[in-house]
Amino acid sequence: MATAVFSTTVTDGDRPAIERVRHRLEGVLKGKPEVVQRVLECLLARGHVLLEDRPGLGKTTLAKALAVALGGSFARLQCTPDLLPSDITGFSIFDQKTREFAFRPGPVFSEILLADEINRATPRTQSALLEAMAERQVTVDGQRRPLTDGFFVIATQNPHEQHGTYPLPEAQLDRFAMKLEIGYPHREDEVAMLAAAVEDQRRQGDADHPLLDRGQLEGIQRRVAAVPVSGAVQGYLVDLARSTRSHPDVALGASPRGVLTWQRVAQARAWLSGRAFVAPDDIQAVAEPVLAVRLGLDRGDAAALVAGLIRQVEVPVAP
């Protein structure tokens, strides 16, 4: 069998570091390697993740572990109806000593932001996140304040609570790269989780050291964005996106911004798979979480709909 190292594989020096991050996250979130894979794809594609699941399934744990692994700051934002935009972006306060207004940055200035139960915040407050997520900057008191390059949002929302929630508008949803569900772990994974919790108490502090520095992550993100995509694959991606716009069950199809995000996520998947180019399989593999957040569908509905769309569009079989 072939043993040759094919030239089409990626030989990136930072891949071991990313694999270590993956390993740590999988250790934290037992039995959910596909969720970890998706989160990493989002991270490398410079996208944001919306987790839609029940409480206590490890959303915060995942976000915290990611923040620690990346060596960045972490902030958690518990969204409530009385949360104000300034609680997110920060505000200026008058300093009696200096007789000047001093800016106190909000949680968006951290590198990993966990916006818990984002749909409980009012639309006004949700909108405050728009600029931060899309342009990685906020404007406070008329002054533009850039966020960190690695700014990464993990938002959660509870699908079962209807009272006192404000569904995210389409424009806000379009800023997320993916919508994911974590789901309950299997029994064996849950047992392993319990055992790991005891083990972690014994070796407290071992998992606190970062695995990537800020420059490394930015470099990987730049290289991911440069992973080549052939014209045929791009044509296939556009055909798939256009098919969502004419589907009778979809009120609002994928936007061009969504197509761009889709390509970035596919590039990240290709890079994580060790390939130096994007294949239609990458497009298909990330289609469901990417489209689920944009088409406003439940996960079950999204899976069936996306599978149907994929079956309709013929994959290219030529360069």
Binding site: A4, F277, E314, V317, P319
Partner: protein, 787 residues
């Protein structure tokens, strides 16, 4: 705007002229075919235009597909080999056809076929500049020579369309060249030589025509022609003077086939009776004392009425007794075209010129002219599509005849005023002749012009109907009045013997068509055609001599015997003389059939109800024109012939059948083996093309093995699923890389070689068939619900 900004402004995308190149190729091929086909009717032109549009679309799609797949790759060598081989294929096929069936196209068309193939093949690779350039030059050659050979004026429209495409191509090439020079690449100058060659060749070719004043001479020495070059080819469609029977040329007007715009000329030509003498030798002088048949008074008086007719020969008898000497026809070889006239339309055809009704044992006497008690159709002129048509009779459905069809006749050498007409002519058209009184019935079913001579080279268009043997039960017999002369029969002993013989033939058969067909069949099968046989000098009854003793003779004895035998049974019949338009003289390309002096012929006709005649052909080697056969009938005939062959040759048929069944059952495996062979023989370029070839091949193998790839799955994923065992990721990654990686991601030749070796083993035919079987079993279980 500053100057430097303007210079950096990006130019529009260069126009490569691919569309124009494809258009030029299609138009050039269309010009060639328009020059070689006979398109003399609007619906012909419409069908041709539709065919050109369809072919153009097909070529454009094929070119697009070739460009998309980059078939044979960017290297020029495989492309040019394919073009050369494909072009010469036409030559090979032509040589094979000539050697196998003796047919083929005109010699001057053979090199043009090669040009056409080359032009169309180059159009497929029109995304390459070199193919466009050479294709343009060849297309120009093809158009120039095709239009020089063409006779139809509307071909100019094709030439104009080609010129427009050519201009578009030149402009596109120029803009592309400018773009390359200004923006990046500086290789555009290479096209100058080719572009200069195009107008140079065009000007030289066009200049040759006015200088010589003769299209054929302009091409002399470059293109082989027949006639005029002192060389002759049976497949020739052009040439002058010394070509075969039907050659079109400018020096001799007789060489034209029926067309309306040819000039007239006058000459002294042979009449039908001259041709009888030439063909059957001159009649022996009849000794009046030899005539022993006692004719009834009305029969005896009949010849007197004949003398009142306007005839080309005094007496107008057809004698069965002929001298033994054959005429010397050497003089005929000296004339430019030996054809007496040309016929356009389906053949064989029996063209009447003279009918005979009364027989005295040796001589047949011509029928009186129409009129009196003879019922002949009334003639009238009826305009059809702005042209005057002589309406002879209206078309009645299911009267025993097929749907009308058209024929055209142009008399070249035949003297006389009778129009050679087939049986059952329903309409006749002579250009600008719009008076019915210009036509007269010479005899029932035989028209003449009311003048001494048919103008030479006059085109005569006919609407005719062919008797359909399948409809014979619908045709009433013998209800005709005033046809006593067609039942005239002798009371001499010889006639009695003939009657006894004929009665023995039809013994037990019901009256009507079964008896008639039996008589014709017996005469046709029991007697031998012998054109040189002559009746003995002391013969008193030619028919009795032929049927009872000689059992051989020329066609007029067959025909006379048929008429006499039918009359013996009481069926009205007559003897008809004229011409037999032989199918073996038919020029398939021109659509014409020349009729020569040798084609004079005598046959029998049976009178049916409504004054219709049915042609009966008793002479072996001659056939009666049948209605066109439908596709279903032809398919049935073919199947029947195959079945007969199989019954006659059981062993080869069994071997062939078994082979065909095996091939049918193993067709997919055989196709896969052919793919294997092609892979072995085809030189594959290393690297990505090798992997792509294998991916394409594995796709075909999966399809043939019963595990076709769903259209929404990538080959990588599908190959991984159907392998039946874990496949190394590197192998699948290479498939992905070949298909989807950008050009800068190279595949090393060593990797491609390794892939070739492993792919054949990993996705072998046996493994894929096994997978197909497994999937089939799973499907079966899921549908039946069994464990």
């Amino acid at each position: 705007m500053p100057a430097d900004t303007r210079t950096r402004r990006p130019l529009a995308a260069p126009q490569t002229g691919r569309g124009a190149a494809v258009g030029m190729a299609v138009l050039a091929a269309a010009t060639f075919h328009a020059a070689t086909l006979v398109l003399d009717a609007p619906h012909h032109v419409l069908a041709f235009t539709a065919a050109v549009v369809a072919a153009g679309g097909a070529v454009a799609l094929a070119a697009r597909e070739v460009a998309r797949r980059d078939w044979l790759g960017p290297a020029p060598a495989p492309r040019w080999i394919a073009v050369i081989v494909g072009s010469l294929l036409g030559l090979t096929v032509e040589l094979a056809i000539r050697s196998a069936v003796g047919a083929g196209i005109a010699p001057e068309q053979v090199p043009l076929v090669v040009f056409r193939n080359a032009v169309l093949l180059l159009a497929l690779w029109s995304h390459h500049a070199d193919a466009r350039r050479v294709g343009g030059v060849l297309a120009m050659f093809l158009v120039v020579f095709s239009s020089a050979l063409a006779e139809t004026p509307w071909i100019l429209w094709l030439v104009v369309a080609f010129a427009v495409s050519g201009a578009w191509w030149l402009v596109s090439s120029y803009t592309g060249s400018v773009h390359r020079r200004v923006v990046a690449v500086d290789d555009a100058c290479r096209s100058r030589g080719w572009l200069a060659a195009v107008p140079t060749c065009l000007v030289m070719a066009l200049a040759a025509v006015p200088v010589t004043g003769h299209r054929v001479r302009a091409l002399e020495g470059f293109m082989p022609t027949s006639g005029g070059q002192h060389r002759s080819s049976p497949r020739a469609t052009s040439g002058v003077g010394d070509g075969d029977a039907l050659v079109a040329g400018l020096d001799n007007i007789r060489s034209f086939a029926p067309i309306d715009d040819a000039p007239f000329m006058t000459s002294h030509e042979p009449s039908l009776y001259d041709l009888f003498d030439d063909t059957y030798s001159t009649p022996r002088p009849v000794r009046q004392s030899d005539r022993a048949i006692s004719l009834p008074p009305e029969t005896a008086r009949a010849p007197e009425r004949h003398d009142a007719a306007t005839t080309q020969k005094a007496g107008r008898e057809f004698s069965l007794a002929r001298t033994a000497a054959r005429p010397d026809r050497s003089a005929i070889r000296d004339i430019a075209s030996p054809a007496l006239f040309h016929v356009q339309g389906r053949v064989p055809l029996h063209l009447r010129l003279e009918a005979f009704d009364r027989f005295d044992g040796v001589e047949w006497h011509a029928e009186p002219p129409a009129g009196g008690d003879m019922i002949v159709p009334r003639l009238s002129i009826e305009p059809v599509a702005g042209r005057p048509w002589l309406r002879i009779e209206s078309v009645v459905a299911r009267d025993g005849y097929a749907a009308p069809e058209t024929h055209a006749i142009r008399v070249v050498h035949l003297r006389g005023n009778r129009i050679p007409l087939p049986n059952r002519v329903t309409g006749l058209h002579i250009d600008r002749l719009d008076r019915a009184d210009f036509f007269r019935w010479a005899q029932p079913g035989i028209l003449r012009l009311d003048r001494e001579q048919i103008p030479e080279l006059l085109p005569i268009h006919l609407q005719t109907r062919v008797e359909d043997p399948r409809l014979r039960p619908l045709v009433p017999l013998f209800a005709r009045s005033g046809a006593e002369s067609y039942r005239q029969y002798g009371d001499d002993p010889e006639s009695a013997q003939v009657r006894d013989l004929v009665l023995s033939w039809v013994d037990g058969l019901p009256a009507g068509w079964p008896q008639i067909e039996r008589v014709v069949e017996r005469i046709r099968t029991l007697h031998t055609p012998d054109p040189d046989y002559r009746l003995p000098a002391d013969c008193r009854h030619g028919v009795a001599e032929f049927l009872l003793r000689a059992r051989r003779g020329p066609d007029h004895l067959f025909a006379a015997a048929t008429v006499w035998a039918l009359r013996a049974l009481g069926y009205p019949a007559r003897l008809v003389a004229g011409f037999y338009v032989r199918p073996d003289r038919h020029d398939r390309h021109a659509g014409h059939t020349p009729v020569l002096a040798d084609d004079v012929h005598v046959w029998a006709e049976l009178s049916t109800a409504n004054d219709h005649w049915v042609t009966l052909e008793p002479t072996p080697g001659y056939e009666v024109l049948l209605p066109p056969r439908s596709l279903v009938e032809r398919t049935y005939d073919t199947l029947l012939a195959m079945a007969r062959w199989a019954l006659d040759h059981p062993l080869p048929a069994a071997i062939l059948g078994a082979g065909a069944l095996l091939a049918l059952g193993w067709r997919r495996r055989l196709a896969d083996l052919a793919d294997d062979l092609a892979t072995l023989l085809l030189p594959l370029r290393p690297g990505r093309p090798t992997v792509l070839h294998w991916v394409s091949r594995l796709e075909r193998r999966c399809r043939r093995a019963g595990v076709p790839r769903p259209r929404h799955l990538t080959p990588t994923r599908w190959l991984g699923e159907v392998a039946g065992a874990p496949v190394p990721a590197a192998l699948l990654t290479l498939v992905d890389a070949a298909l989807y990686a950008p050009p800068q991601v190279a595949i090393a030749p060593a990797e491609a070689r390794a892939f070739s070796t492993l792919a054949g083993q990993t996705w072998s035919w046996a493994r894929l068939r096994e997978e197909a079987g497994r999937r089939g079993r799973v499907r079966h279980r899921s549908t039946t619900g069994s464990c």
